[in-house]
Amino acid sequence: MSQAAAERLKERLPDAVADSYEGVGGDDVAIVKKERIEEVCRFLRDDPELLFDMAPYITAVDYQGEEPRFEVVYQLYSTKKNHRLRLRVPVPESDPALRTVTTVWKGANWYERYCWDMYGIRFEGHPDPRRLYMYEGFVGHPLRKDYSLRGRQPLVPERQVDEPFRGPGPARRD
């Protein structure tokens, strides 16, 4: 089973697929060009031999120091054929944007918002392009490798507690 889906994708859309290989554990992986992602996904969903009707997980990775820096990773599954495919889409830091696939699978909605929130990758044509976890007004994208681990941005100023065993409040309260 392995490799069949990626091979078919490469055969039908040769100029959209940069590479395909067998991942660890026999996973089927294809590296797709970012300009063609929506078209590739639509093909994968509608092709009668592939029928990838579900996108269980979409996430991104920050390969800092490499070019292109980011990668958006799509895990696809077909409930009808019971096979899986992983698409890796390299995204350069200079233009971190690609087409949304919410038009193909509705379930991509929050995953793409997650990628925008955490990695700053924009999805063009997304119906609700807000941050997912962080609040509006948050600066930066926390899962980028250059975002400081101690990069605190409290919405409400954090209180300075002098006596950690007593807690905040007026002195001689107790």
Partner: protein, 407 residues
């Protein structure tokens, strides 16, 4: 009598007084008894009808991924406990399987059985929690009490092997943390008997209950095609008629050696989702009993000290043992560079881990595919046009767990 038949039947709403309603925005949560966890829902109401609904999440976001990137591979286990805190061993097992996939590691048989036994017990506790909480919110307090008794009995058994009710931290890369105490199997069988009794009680209280049926049937419906498009998995997907279960579709551990059925619904409404849970309780019971019969004494972890801590006499008594111990604690397991996606059937659906390693002792990237994510995402679509009161059971049956969805 004749007069009655002569009069025209009146339109049903002819006698109703005009009752103009105003559109109202209602804020549910983030801290609200019916919104488990901390989800904020803004509902646009027309009387009692939900016109539009918008979800706002992130109040429980703790930076799971960022935290995991800074600790060694084995130190991630306590963090995974806090994803789905009602069934934490399944998170442990899912993560361990993902790392083992990258390491190309196969764990001993007994470890596999122990993982399955504890996972299925946690699946039962998860389903009991759901059914109990749903009963409570629909006004059936008794159900909650029964479910809590069953759940805590199961947790007592798990406490005996891992020392905690909720934060189990039981699996390890290459095996499990410890073997079962003596007489544990017999106790588990008794616990299963008792929880089956309680399940029967709950079944009698809820399944044919007029109030419950009225509240659940036909509410929160999502069609099969929509559910697949939204990426539903687990009981919520199976309630729509799609028989996808990772344990059958891509068997892992020992699920190919045990017999169990996958219940499949047809309507995709709250009632079907509830029935899926009740049937899966039975099936998990079956799996645990079979595993306990098949399980044989043996090793509980691989004897490869690149992955597993050596036993203490070796650490204190030999230089190789001390070195292996030191390197594992200080540097962490050296996972080969690469990326892998591994998925298991957790209580609410497919729990996936996307791991990327750069060959070092810490995860380069650890992405969690939480099953509740997709269900929560589809909640507005399931509820638009329905009553505000339907929000409560729908929110219950999708069983969104804040810990894993908000990471």
């Amino acid at each position: 009598m004749a007069n009655d038949t002569d009069t025209q039947p009146e339109a049903p709403d002819a006698l109703e007084a005009p009752f103009p309603t105003k559109r109202m925005h209602l804020n549910l949560g983030p801290s609200h008894p019916a919104m488990h966890g901390t989800v904020r829902a803004v509902v646009d109401l027309d009387g009692e009808d939900i016109h539009a609904m918008k979800l706002d999440i992130g109040f429980l976001h703790r930076g799971f991924e960022k935290s995991c990137e800074t600790v060694t591979w084995n130190q991630v286990f306590p963090y995974t406990d806090r994803l789905n805190y009602v069934s934490s061993i399944m998170n442990n097992v899912g993560y361990a399987l993902a790392v083992e996939k990258l390491c190309k590691l196969d764990v001993p048989d007994r470890a596999k059985y122990l993982r399955v036994v504890t996972s299925e017990m946690h699946r039962m506790s998860d389903h009991f929690t759901l059914v109990g909480a749903m009963g409570l919110e629909l006004g059936a307090m008794t159900v909650l009490i029964y479910a809590m008794e069953a759940r805590d009995l199961l947790w007592d058994r798990l406490t005996e092997i891992c020392g905690a009710r909720l934060t189990s931290n039981y699996a390890r890369i290459g095996g499990v943390a410890r073997d079962v105490p003596p007489e544990w199997e017999a106790k588990v069988l008794k616990t299963l008997d008792r929880s089956a009794e309680l399940r029967e009680e709950i079944d009698k209280l809820l399944t044919r209950n007029r109030i419950v049926i009225d509240r659940l049937q036909g509410t929160g419906v999502l069609s099969r095609a929509e559910a697949i498009g939204y990426g539903f998995t687990g009981p919520c997907l199976r309630a729509t008629g799609e028989p996808y279960d990772v344990r059958k579709a891509a068997p892992y551990l020992v699920y190919d050696r045990v017999e169990f059925d996958v219940p499949v619904g047809s309507n995709g409404d709250n009632f079907d989702r509830y029935l899926m849970r009740m049937e899966e309780l039975k099936q998990s019971d079956r799996i645990v009993r079979q595993c306990l019969r098949q399980m044989e004494p043996g090793e509980i972890a691989v004897a490869d000290y690149r992955y597993v801590l050596p036993p203490k006499p070796e650490v204190y008594g030999s230089i190789e043992g001390a070195m292996a111990h030191f390197k594992l604690i200080m540097e962490g397991v050296k996972v080969p560079a690469g990326e892998a996606y591994s998925y298991i059937e957790a209580a609410n659906g497919e729990l996936g881990f996307y791991v990327v390693s750069d060959g070092g002792g810490r995860p380069y990237k650890l992405g969690v595919r939480a099953p509740g994510w997709n269900m929560l995402m589809a909640l507005p679509e399931m509820l638009e046009g329905q009553l505000l009161a339907d929000l409560i059971p729908t929110f219950d049956t999708i069983n969104m767990i804040g810990g894993e969805v908000e990471q």
